[in-house]
């Protein structure tokens, strides 16, 4: 196998892993109207990167920790009477700005900031692929295990409680899964586009689905198609990979919306 094949195959594997992890979770992000919440969690990743570099920690666990902290902080803030979008607006942009400042202050560290903001899928290592697929397996297993309880809690918390399910615990499961997805998607699409990968494939799958399970499966399929299609487009047109993947997903979204619209009329 020559070098070219090797890094493209690695990139494809990384993209597929992230697409699969983002699909079921992204459905909940759409259903619970948490798109901005996902973005805030992703922005916290920059702070995680800065922390890792400053303290000499591994990047992945630091990002995971920062993302988790952000999610918990936002939950705590909304519990204190701030509107959700205000809490997110404060936390999300503070994390992004503070992260960028902190990274720059570490002057002795030579760092490709663009790689963290927009991802660098062509530079993934074998070890990255192991972590991405490990994280993806964790997220898919977690959401599959809690699926009915998560669905019912999303529909109506009281209905969940009447059925012996604690909606707050299920919310925590989602928060944890979200942090994991952010951590593994960082290298592939970068912090600024992670939310796109969470939201666009499920939104594209919606017009084609009749059940929640169908929508999650569709999101996985469309996400995987976006990852591979974006990679191909980036290679052919010599464009940045992360944004190419998101653009491909957006094209799929337009296509399925058209199909959905036609079906309704027909």
């Amino acid at each position: 196998m020559n070098l070219l094949d090797d890094f493209l195959v690695r990139a494809a594997l990384a993209g597929l892993g992230v697409a699969l992890a983002a699909a079921p979770l992204g459905c909940f992000v759409v259903w619970r109207r948490m798109a901005y919440f996902g973005e805030a969690t992703a922005h916290a990743a920059v702070l995680g990167v800065a922390l890792a570099l400053g303290l000499g920690l591994a990047v992945m666990p630091a990002v995971l920790g920062a993302a988790l902290l952000m999610a918990l902080a936002v939950s705590a803030m909304t519990g204190r009477g701030f509107a959700m979008d205000t809490a997110l607006g404060v936390m999300s942009h503070t994390a992004l700005a503070a992260g960028l400042v902190a990274v720059t202050l570490l002057a002795d560290v030579r760092l490709d900031l663009m790689a963290f903001l927009f991802g660098d899928i062509l530079a993934v290592t074998r070890w990255d692929i192991v972590t991405i697929w490990g994280g993806a397996a964790l997220v898919v297993a977690l959401t599959a295990w809690r699926w009915p309880a998560l669905l019912l809690s999303t529909l109506n918390p009281d209905l969940a409680r009447a059925g012996g399910i604690d909606p707050r615990r299920e919310e925590l499961v989602l928060t944890l899964a979200l942090a994991v997805v952010v951590a593994v998607a960082l290298k592939v699409v970068g912090v600024l586009l992670i939310a796109a990968l969470l939201v666009i494939p499920p939104a594209a799958a919606r017009p084609l689905a009749a059940t929640p399970e169908g929508m999650a499966a569709g999101a996985a399929g469309l996400g995987a198609t976006s990852a591979l299609g974006g990679l191909w487009a980036a290679f052919v047109f010599d464009t940045p990979t992360g944004p190419s993947i998101v653009c491909t997903a957006a094209v799929l979204f337009v296509l399925t919306s058209l199909v959905g619209g036609l079906r309704k009329r027909g």
Binding site: W31, L155, N156, A162, P212
Partner: protein
């Protein structure tokens, strides 16, 4: 008298420093139909939510018979259009059920043949019946309904109450309904509890309607009238579901 299915003992509930429920004592026994009436903000819904364990009492407690099966129909359930959800899939949450089981329970709730429809495409009356069907799945001993006829017109509400009565007869379950809809209180209610933070008065529908506490609360809006639905099987009404019930209704001024 047999032991109650569920009981609130000295139940007091504060939310954000405001007293919502104050020293409420209510017992529900097997098979009875209890209607809880009260103005907006009187703590009716909170009381039901306390019964299902969704809110914790500040003091006092909720006692449940061991192994009590509860069916709950929430006040409102807004299913976001972003979530595809067929009626059959909705019934199978959180426990997967067989197709035949879903069809059977839809039939019982008066919503036959809706299994393949999307929840967001249902009419108000159909939606309420699907919620009722879901609550009936586990063959509840206690059925809790929170403003179940909200958004239904009066014939629709009457048909829904009639269905609840039939369900009670079939399953023998106790029914606790919350209503602010003072014009429509089921004639089949064994007891009406008038709630306004505390229990103002309770008794048969007629007794409550005559009680000075009730008149003080609702006197201006409804001139103290408590309207009862009586069912007389004479002629058909067409409702928003496939089959018509035979009944007429008249308002009885108490």
């Amino acid at each position: 008298m047999s032991a109650p299915l569920i009981a609130a003992r000295d139940l007091t509930l504060r939310l954000g420093g405001k007293v919502i429920l104050d020293d409420v004592n209510v017992e529900i026994t097997a098979g009875e139909i209890v209607t809880i009436v009260g103005p907006n903000g009187s703590g009716k819904s909170t009381f039901l939510r306390a019964l299902i364990g969704a809110v914790r009492p500040s003091s006092g407690k909720i006692e449940r018979a061991p192994g009590l099966r509860v069916g709950y129909v929430p006040q409102k359930l807004a299913i976001d259009r972003s979530m595809p959800m067929s009626v059959r899939r909705f019934l199978g949450l959180p426990r997967r059920i067989k197709r035949a089981e879903a069809d059977q329970v839809l039939e019982r709730a008066g919503a036959p043949g809706l299994g393949d429809r999307q929840m967001t495409d249902l009419s108000g009356g159909q939606f309420q019946r699907v919620l009722l069907a879901r609550a009936l799945l586990e063959r509840p001993q206690l059925l809790l309904l929170d403003e179940a006829t909200q958004g239904l017109d009066q014939p629709g509400a009457a048909a829904f109450y009639r269905r609840i009565e039939e369900v009670r007869q079939e399953l023998g379950c106790a029914v606790v309904m919350v209503s602010h809809d003072l014009h429509v209180v089921m004639a089949a209610s064994d007891r009406v509890i008038c709630l306004n933070g505390h229990v103002c008065c309770q008794g048969t529908p007629e007794i409550v309607a005559d009680a000075p506490e009730y008149r003080a609360l609702f006197g201006t809006g409804t001139k103290g009238a408590l309207a009862l639905y009586r069912h007389r099987h004479t002629h058909d009404h067409d409702h928003d579901h496939d089959h018509a019930h035979d009944h007429s209704h008249e308002d009885v001024q108490a």
